[in-house]
């Protein structure tokens, strides 16, 4: 598979009252086309900043992001960000939200395309609903559908399911895998949930605490659908938790 994203020596710091705060320090890695990479790190380590740098929402102090061989510095619809709080427009219906990004298509098709994607994520029958009429899980589906409808090459996911309850989060993961099996997107997922990373990703990069650096890389060799209870995946989970500095006693 060809390289899709190349992150080269990214660094970012912020000025604060207490002086310079290094958030991201010299991060480099590559993502292949169609690959699912999870970045796992402790909270407050600068994961979100790193993702915003890669997606182009924040300018780095140093380093570049190269997508499809060309430097990338501004967000565009080839890579859609899905964040933890979500950004489905509350003043638009589900259908209008899904139609929002469809500039490139002839206007006549917009509603049809939107409805097709609403059906893909299981929102058939809710096209005319407003976001405040939907549950948390359905809102996530709408967000996912709005991203997919513009056929992005890349999905940037920043703890997308962490605001949901455990059951709904698991359901959304399976939903995501089902969709990705059909439409091959490249995904970078930020999470603090090791189990989620093992469930979804092809490769897991463990980040250090701030300033964030890549500490270790784990390949996830298990075929899909994955059994999270298998001893091999439990073994991997413990190795990752150990990397994250969780005490041995606490996990065994």
């Amino acid at each position: 598979m060809p390289t899709k994203i190349e992150v080269r020596n990214l660094s970012k710091s912020y000025e604060s009252d207490k002086g310079r705060l290094e958030v991201v320090e010299n991060v480099s890695f590559t993502v292949r086309e169609g690959e699912f990479v999870a970045l796992v790190g402790p909270s407050g380590c600068g994961k979100t900043t790193l993702l915003n740098l890669i997606a182009g929402f924040v300018r780095p102090d140093n380093g570049t992001v190269i997508i499809d061989g060309t430097p990338h510095s501004k967000p565009d619809s080839r890579g859609i960000l899905i964040s933890q709080q979500g950004s489905v427009f509350p003043w638009l219906t589900v259908r209008e939200n899904l139609m929002f990004g469809l500039n490139a298509h002839p206007p006549a098709d917009h509603a049809d395309i939107a409805d097709r994607y609403a059906e893909i994520v299981g929102l058939k029958g809710f096209e005319d609903s407003f976001p405040h009429e939907l549950s948390g899980g359905m809102l996530k589906r709408a967000e996912l559908a709005r991203a997919l409808v513009v056929k992005p090459d890349i999905l940037y996911m920043d703890e997308p399911f962490s605001a949901l309850d455990a059951l709904m989060s698991l359901r959304m993961r399976n939903e995501l895998l089902r969709i990705l099996a059909k439409e091959r997107h490249t995904v970078i997922l930020i999470t603090h949930d090791v189990e989620e990373a093992i469930h979804l990703a092809d490769r897991i990069l463990v980040l250090s605490s701030r300033p964030t650096r890549i500490q270790t890389t784990f390949e996830v060799p298990f075929p899909r659908p994955r059994k999270l209870t298998s001893s091999a995946s439990q073994e991997l989970r413990m190795s990752i938790l150990r990397e994250l500095g969780v005490e041995r006693d606490a996990i065994e």
């Binding site: 967000p75 950004s87 427009f89 003043w91 929002f100 976001p131």
Partner: protein, 252 residues
């Protein structure tokens, strides 16, 4: 039924007030201050003569023109000041100085510039309702959540779409709040303005009733009618808040 029950206490308070008023007039043997019955007969007299409708129509017409002009100026100006930082920095100080000036203080200047006629009260209504609406609109733009602007940026929509599908709908609830405040102020001001310099309108009717033979029954009738119309105007603006375009803001 529940609705009626909920308003029972306030009906009781109003009834008590009217009874106390009645008793006080009788007890003091006042020759000038009217009893509630006198106010009702006075109102009936105004209705029978047909002058009441003329005064109400005159006041409402002035409010409609002055307030309408204020909306047309305040909304675009507020959006512009909210969106363009330089515009905000330049104009905000002036607005902050002009805003606390009571509309009543403008009356001499209004008379000087526009004379005694319909233009003066329209100008006073304009000047008094435009500021709260500008301020609310600016606040509305400044409080659009970043995640929505970021999502719009992500989908790479045109400036036009950004404005019509994100900025304006996001600010609309604040604009409606501003309109409610603005219309309330406008109604206060039209009556005050008419008291000073006109030959029609509810404010004029009140002053004229006093000057032409101490008809305090008509003065009080005018006051109550002003209160009731103000209440209806506010109710009308509340209906706007239930509109599908702003309802999302009040859900949850």
């Amino acid at each position: 039924m529940r609705h009626i029950k909920a308003s029972l206490p306030s009906i009781a308070v109003i009834a008590t007030l009217i009874a106390a008023w009645w008793a006080a007039v009788i007890a003091t043997h006042s020759l000038i201050f009217p009893t509630p019955a006198a106010v009702v007969t006075g109102t009936w007299e105004l209705i029978a003569k047909g002058t009441l409708w003329q005064h109400i129509a005159a006041s409402l017409m002035r409010v409609a023109i002055g307030f309408g002009l204020a909306v047309c100026v305040a909304v675009p100006l507020g959006l512009w000041m909210g969106w363009v930082r330089a515009a905000y920095r330049t104009l905000n100080p002036i607005f902050q100085i002009l805003r606390p000036i009571s509309p009543i203080a403008w009356i001499p200047i209004a008379i000087l510039w526009f004379g005694i006629g319909d233009v003066s009260p329209v100008y006073l209504i304009f000047i008094s309702s435009v500021f709260p609406m500008v301020v609310q609109t600016v606040v509305g733009v400044h409080t659009i959540e970043k995640r929505y602007l970021r999502a719009a940026e992500n989908f790479g929509v045109s400036r036009r779409t950004l404005f019509t599908r994100v900025v304006i709908p996001a600010v609309l609830p604040q604009i409606v709040v501003g309109m409610r405040i603005g219309l309330g102020v406008a109604w206060l001001v039209v009556v005050a303005a008419e008291m000073i310099a006109l030959h029609s309108g509810l404010g004029y009717m009140i002053m004229d009733s006093r000057n032409a033979g101490n008809r305090y029954d008509l003065v009080v009738a005018g006051m109550i009618i002003i209160g009731l119309i103000g209440l209806s105007l506010d109710g009308l603006m509340r209906l706007l808040e239930g509109n599908r375009w702003v309802r999302w803001r009040y859900a949850h």
